[in-house]
């Protein structure tokens, strides 16, 4: 029997694995008929999940945690059975800001987050004096990986996110327009919207998520609780189909076809050449020089789809750090429990995938790629470091947050 699943997504490159699951037949092979619905806001995706229009959806990785803890306008109870890859977003600055940065740093090279942070801090006083206002940064949602990693990077670079700059919310496809109109000077958004802005001559790439925190979480696949309870088998089939689609997306020989598919107006609606860099890692730096970014977006490699509870806990730690919620060990536990590695494991069991022994890891601990004690002994993870070389131990959330407090 074919099972129908209505699934919401936003026009972003990390929706590619869901789109590929549908278009390349992976869902059909599992006996699923996916109905993909492109949405215009994360609020719509949340509302439609809550009222039961969608059984599954792409979501910002912190959103299910915010929904569970009652931080969003409406309580949302969903499960996260898998991640939709690692990395995939970047920080773009306006042409004016790029010029200011290059004036002060003529020897600028590449997209390194440390160079970017030091550079930005150096030009902030000049910028503020010239414009008579603070620098405005655009992010897509208060409960997004973009918001937290941008704040992390700013703070670690000596820039106070709530004091030294303004942070504004702008929907992803409108980011280039917001830069064109001067509403934002810098933004952190998922691809292809950085490449679109660069392509239109509106801005230049400053750094990437993969440089701020290598192999870091970005979007997740969510399933609604009523759907999961009524059809646990279908939920597992969905995870399997998306997993196999992710492996397909990771293969180099498929990138041209994938970019063409994603460029369709009903999916992302951007040019294939604005989508391809996400996969090839070939971007231009602040001065327009070509540069290769390692691990810019990993759809499948290094277990990129595993829903690590330590990722959930890192997002929770940042919600506490930036005052969105007070620390409470019970909240931390609930945040971690939203990420359901048990479903992932059960779903992928038939595929004989090599899986890690635990659902948490110390984030930022692997400076180089290393084998971990997996079931089959072949799984390698990392490198996964934060750019400031600090580590996050998921068993020490409170201590991590208190140590960060004085940077806030």
């Amino acid at each position: 029997m074919t099972h129908n699943i209505d699934i919401g997504f936003m026009p972003l490159v990390d929706a590619s694995v869901i789109i590929a699951a549908h278009e390349l037949g992976f869902a059909r092979e599992e006996g699923l008929a996916l109905n993909l619905i492109r949405e215009s806001s994360w609020a719509n995706i949340r509302d439609r999940m809550v009222v039961g229009h969608f059984q599954a959806a792409q979501m910002l990785a912190p959103l299910p945690i915010a929904g569970l803890l009652g931080l969003s306008s409406m309580r949302m109870d969903v499960a996260v059975p898998m991640a939709l890859g690692l990395g995939g977003n970047a920080v773009t600055v306006s042409r004016d800001l790029a010029s200011l940065l290059l004036q002060k740093h003529p020897d600028w090279r590449g997209l390194d987050a440390r160079q970017a942070g030091v550079g930005l801090k150096n030009v902030l006083p000049d910028f503020q004096q010239q414009r008579g206002r603070k620098l405005t940064c655009g992010v897509v949602h208060p409960h997004s990986a973009h918001n937290y990693e941008l704040r992390y990077w700013l703070a670690a670079s000596g820039i106070r996110p709530d004091v030294d700059v303004e942070i504004a919310i702008v929907p992803p496809p409108l980011m280039p327009d917001a830069m064109a109109s001067g509403a934002v000077d810098l933004f952190c958004v998922g691809e292809p919207w950085n490449s679109v802005a660069v392509n239109q001559g509106l801005g230049r790439l400053l750094t990437t998520k993969s440089s701020i925190w290598r192999s870091s979480p970005e979007k997740v696949l969510t399933v609604s609780m009523p759907f999961l309870k009524a059809h646990p088998d279908a939920a597992q089939k969905l995870v399997r189909a998306v997993y196999r689609a992710a492996c397909w997306c990771a293969r180099k020989e498929n990138w041209e076809d994938l970019a063409k598919l994603l460029s369709q107006a009903n999916y992302i609606g951007a040019a294939p050449e604005e989508i391809l860099p996400s996969f090839t890692g070939r971007f231009a730096d602040l001065s327009g020089r070509a540069t290769l970014v390692e691990d810019f977006f990993l759809p499948a490699d290094r277990l990129a789809t595993f829903p690590w509870q330590s990722h959930a806990l890192w997002f929770y730690s940042q919600m506490v750090r930036w005052g969105q919620i007070d620390f409470d060990p019970a909240h931390a536990q609930r945040a971690a429990s939203a990420y359901r590695a048990d479903i992932y494991r059960a779903a992928l069991m038939p595929l004989g995938i090599d899986l890690p022994p635990t659902d948490m890891k110390v984030e930022g601990a692997l400076e180089v790629s290393q084998p971990i004690g997996s079931t089959g002994g072949t799984l390698r993870l990392g490198p996964d470091g934060f750019f400031d070389l600090l580590k996050f131990d998921p068993s020490q959330v409170e201590a991590y947050v208190s140590a960060q407090r004085h940077f806030a």
Binding site: S40, S41, W42, A43, N44, D47, R48, V50, V51, G52, H53, L71, S72, S73, M74, V140, H141, P142, A168, I169, V170, P171, P173, L174, S181, A183
Partner: protein
């Protein structure tokens, strides 16, 4: 009773004014319309609305919710869906394409009639737009049929009735609409002989 202030956020100016017309019929309602993202927040701060009705496809929803959660400049509006006592009503609103935010603490019996009116107007607009689209495509279809008839009359030396009969027969055999068959014929003719159908139709 103090008047209820309603802000409509919708980039479709015609729809917004239709909703406005529906709302002002309610005694004691002041309606303001906002279009676009630019200056939206400032408008909310100056209007201080009790109810905000947003087109569900409007890209401002995440921005608005984030603003509501941190702003101290406005009384805190909350998503209408927070009151989950009536799930059918919520679904009806979403189906109609309406999302709404209501200042915390307002009594439901004051607010619900207003939002219901907005939902009705959204639906009416949607129906109107669909009918308009149907009329438009019917007109377009007729135009294509006329062009296809002209082509057949010229190329096959048929009379108008014969040309139409041929189109209808082909459509029946292929289990398609006559206008579809006509459209394919016209585009094929355009492809094969540019300028061949000049002077027909339009």
């Amino acid at each position: 009773m103090e008047k209820l202030s309603v802000l409509i956020v919708d980039d479709n100016a015609i729809r917004a004014s239709i909703i406005e017309a529906g709302l002002v019929e309610h005694d004691g309602t002041i309606v303001t319309i906002a279009t676009g993202l630019h200056g939206l927040v400032e408008k909310i701060e100056s209007v201080q609305p009790d109810v905000i009705v947003v087109d569900i496809e409007h890209p401002s929803r995440d921005l608005l919710e984030s603003y509501f959660s941190i702003s101290r400049a406005v009384r805190k509006p909350i998503a209408m869906f927070v009151d989950k006592s009536d799930p059918a009503w919520i679904e009806q609103a979403i189906d109609a394409g309406v999302s709404s935010y209501v200042v915390d603490g307002l009594r439901k019996n004051r607010v619900k009639p207003v939002i219901d009116a907005a939902i009705r107007r959204f639906k009416a607009f949607h129906k109107m737009a669909m009918e308009l689209e149907a009329t438009r495509s019917e007109l377009q279809g007729r135009k294509q049929i006329d062009r296809a008839k002209g082509l057949l009359m010229r190329s096959k030396g048929l009379s108008e009735e014969e040309a139409y009969a041929l189109l209808r027969r082909t459509a029946m055999n292929q289990n398609r609409k006559i206008s579809d068959v006509a459209e394919r014929l016209v585009s094929a003719a355009e492809l094969l002989a540019p300028g061949a159908d000049k002077g027909d139709g339009e």
